[in-house]
């Protein structure tokens, strides 16, 4: 029974992290960006305050479509389930075989609901935003699928818990890390890849018609999705090389390491955001296609045992 208590404890910590940390991470990014831009910047909890305010406000519904109302909640559910499939210490709250495939799908679902939400209203800017999001998803997801394939082939499993345990250090895995960093950055929609929600061009894109609580839920879903992608990357980066994690103390240390690395990555992301202009969607598509072919090469390398 003791094992279960530990497992429960780690799962609980994971749930608390995935629910409360993402807005703070955004707070860190805002602070870092502000400093690079010669500003003071808001307090770390500012994103939370924003969300609280949005949650308290009623939403204007410009359409009778129920999808419009449900999309944010479905997106939130998807991103929470994505985060639940990740290892916290040595515990994965929802663990089963093939969960890498499920992780891939639920992350895409956030984008899909965003696209559907944008198409459920009569607004040219929402439609443009949705079509941009779609173009990005359609070009970056095959790349991610290939990279996941390399990882799964290398570890011989499609389960995230197995992958982080059995990954071998080969050149192809190292290259996969590099390309995966790019792909997950694109998928997270940071500048210069934030074309779908670009304020100055399409006034928020699919989010343009959203307000109040529904907007807040959408933002929250996006923050959690970003957190999940980063946490996944950090886990891949650390867990395979730390040896077997069999005691609760070691697991706690690993969890602390994951946590610190996640926080440490955010200023880097913020710096990248601050020092770049937004790309155009055709630039992004071109870059993704190039990366896709690089991914194919890496896959071929993996098959050859490199």
């Amino acid at each position: 029974m003791e094992i279960d208590a530990v497992k429960l404890g780690f799962s609980l910590v994971g749930i608390i992290l995935l629910l409360f940390l993402p807005p703070y991470l955004d707070g860190i990014a805002r602070r870092v960006r502000a400093r690079l831009q010669y500003r003071r910047g808001p307090p770390l909890s500012q994103t939370w305050y924003d969300l609280q305010k949005l949650f308290a406000l009623p939403s204007v519904r410009p359409t009778a479509s129920t999808l419009f109302t449900w999309a944010p909640y479905l997106a939130l559910a998807s991103s929470i389930s994505a985060a639940l499939l990740l290892p916290y210490g040595n515990v994965i709250p929802v663990n089963f075989g093939f969960n890498l495939v499920v992780f891939f799908y639920v992350v895409v679902m956030v984008s899909v609901f965003l696209i559907l939400a944008g198409l459920s209203v009569q607004n040219a800017f929402s439609h443009i935003g949705s079509s941009r999001e779609m173009q990005i998803v359609l070009t970056v997801e095959p790349l991610i699928a290939i990279l996941y394939g390399v990882l799964a082939y290398n570890a011989g499993s499609l389960s995230i818990s197995e992958i982080v345990r059995n990954l071998h250090p080969t050149p192809s895995v190292l290259l996969t890390y590099a390309i995966l960093a790019y792909a997950l950055y694109v998928e997270s929609g940071f500048v210069p890849f934030d074309v779908a929600e670009a304020e100055q061009e399409v006034i928020g894109g699919p989010l343009g018609e959203y307000s109040g609580r529904l907007l807040g839920v959408f933002y929250y879903a996006i923050y959690i999705k970003r957190f999940a992608l980063l946490w996944f990357f950090v886990s891949l980066l650390t867990l395979p090389w730390l040896g077997p994690i069999d005691t609760a103390v070691k697991a706690a240390l690993v969890l602390a390491l994951q946590f610190l690395l996640t926080i440490a990555f955010y200023p880097i992301i913020a710096a990248l955001e601050a020092t770049n202009a937004r790309l155009r969607v055709d630039h992004i598509v071109k870059m993704n296609v190039r990366m896709f072919f690089a991914g194919l090469v890496v896959l071929a390398m993996a098959f050859m045992g490199w």
């Binding site: 800017f125 443009i128 079509s131 670009a198 304020e199 100055q200 202009a277 790309l279």
Partner: protein
Amino acid sequence: MVRTNDLEAHFGFECRACENGHCNKASLETILGEREGLEEFYEAFKEHIRECKRMTYGQYMFIIDREVLPEAVLWWHNHPKFKETHLSTAVGTDERPLDGKFVYMPFLSVQVEPLNMDRNYWMFLKAYMPADDPSFPSVAARLPAALWIEREVKDLLGFRPVDHPDPRRLILPEDWPEGVYPLRKDMDYKHSPVTEPKTEYRETPEGTSLVPMGPVHAGVEEPAHFRLFVKGEEIIDVDYRGFYSHRGIEKTGEGRLTYNQVLFLAERICGICGYQHSVSYAMAVERLADVEIPDRARYIRTLMLELERIHNHLLWVGIAAHLVGYDTGFMHAWRIREPVMWLVERLTGNRKQYGMNIVGGVRRDLLDYRKEEVLNVVKRIREETKTFLDIALNTNTFIKRAEGVGILPYKVAKAYSVLGPTARASGRRIDARLDQATKTAMAYNEVDFKVPVYKEGDVLARVLVRMDELFESIWIVEQLIDGMPGGDIFTPIGKLPEYEEALGFTEAHRGEVVHYVMTGEKNKVYRWKVRAPTYNNLPAIPEMLKGYHVADAPLIIASIDPCYSCTERVQFVDVKTGRVRILTEAEFNELSIENRGVF
């Protein structure tokens, strides 16, 4: 050579060439011989020329028959030798109280030799129209630069441009009643008829869908309505509807205010290039009064103009960075700009709308111990801008967005008479600071500077032109401080001559600003016409947008540095009552408490 006397015999006109004290009895021959091209034009249009005169130094007027207006305008505009000549704008005047006629008068900046202010001149082509039939043949179909100009006189004065390709309303709203023309002298300035709302948009072309950028859009800071017709993300065609903030400033200025009051109104036309407007207006009145202003005043004016240019270019580059999501560039450009604002506050007492100018000179002297401060500030700006440009121009994503986007070819730029940095980025060598005789009001003839010209015509070229200009401006400021003469700062203006005309102009950071002034009785202004550079640049925007992405639209629009309030010379009016009313802060707070939860 036909002499004035011969002409008098033929047409019964008198040559009022030069009553301005420079040469009282200039014969026709003298006038025509003064500048290159005048005689050639005279020979070509001899039968239709009714009168010719020199309005003031470097400004000539031919009174011609309205039938030949298009040919005359095109003759100048397409003159093979004067390549950089452009149609500046046109003035419509209701002269019925004077002689029972309407006047339509396009004028061009004739460039005999680019950047030589002693050889170039302004050419006014004045045509009288009878009061019962104010129509003139349109030139817009052949010269797109005239598109807006002719629609404007149609709206405001009820002239009829015959065969205009796009005779929709331009300045007045579509629900303004027919037959009410604000700039006619018989209309009271307080009259404000309101009818049912109505719109008059162009049809969406087949196979495209509409993306309405505006009337309010995050990427366009003022009310402007670009209707983008797109296929996917590609822009196929564009319709523009603006003038949502038309204030009727010209009407306010005419007849109600004295010439010095108009000056302060002129400064408030624009939020950031106000001094350019005030200097242009002052220059026009000084030309009319025929006074020479003290050197020190000219230097101080030039100094302020250049400081204004420096901070405006920095403002613009910040906004351009913001529009492509490069907020770090935006914040730093504005940080670098701020010391200039502090400096001008020290020099004039205000950050903007300096209130520094007056007809005949300036109101405040530049204290000697401030000179060092000016030099320190511009030195710092130069260094910081260099660093900024190093970083911004090495930001790959920023360059990717600006390079090869929004290309405006030289020919299109010329056809639309595009001005300022936008024109110079398309290879046009024009700059009103040197092109025309600014020396009566400013000191540009006494400083040395280069006019940067780029050939690419894309957004990046517009960024580079502006940044090069900024460094030139800093260099000009240093020379001005170095060579600042002593003496008075103000010459009193006596009585103004009645019903005389003159033009004042400066090169604002967006292009050439012109103020046309016709004096009335008792030192008042009979007709005051303002033309901000955006008025010429904006009609060319659709040409720049076609074929590019919706994503590029905000940047391309911003790349001409549009200023809608300048262009629209725009008072806030309560639509329901037609009265001007401003909420006090207490009232505003009360309203927001009353309506809590609604917003």
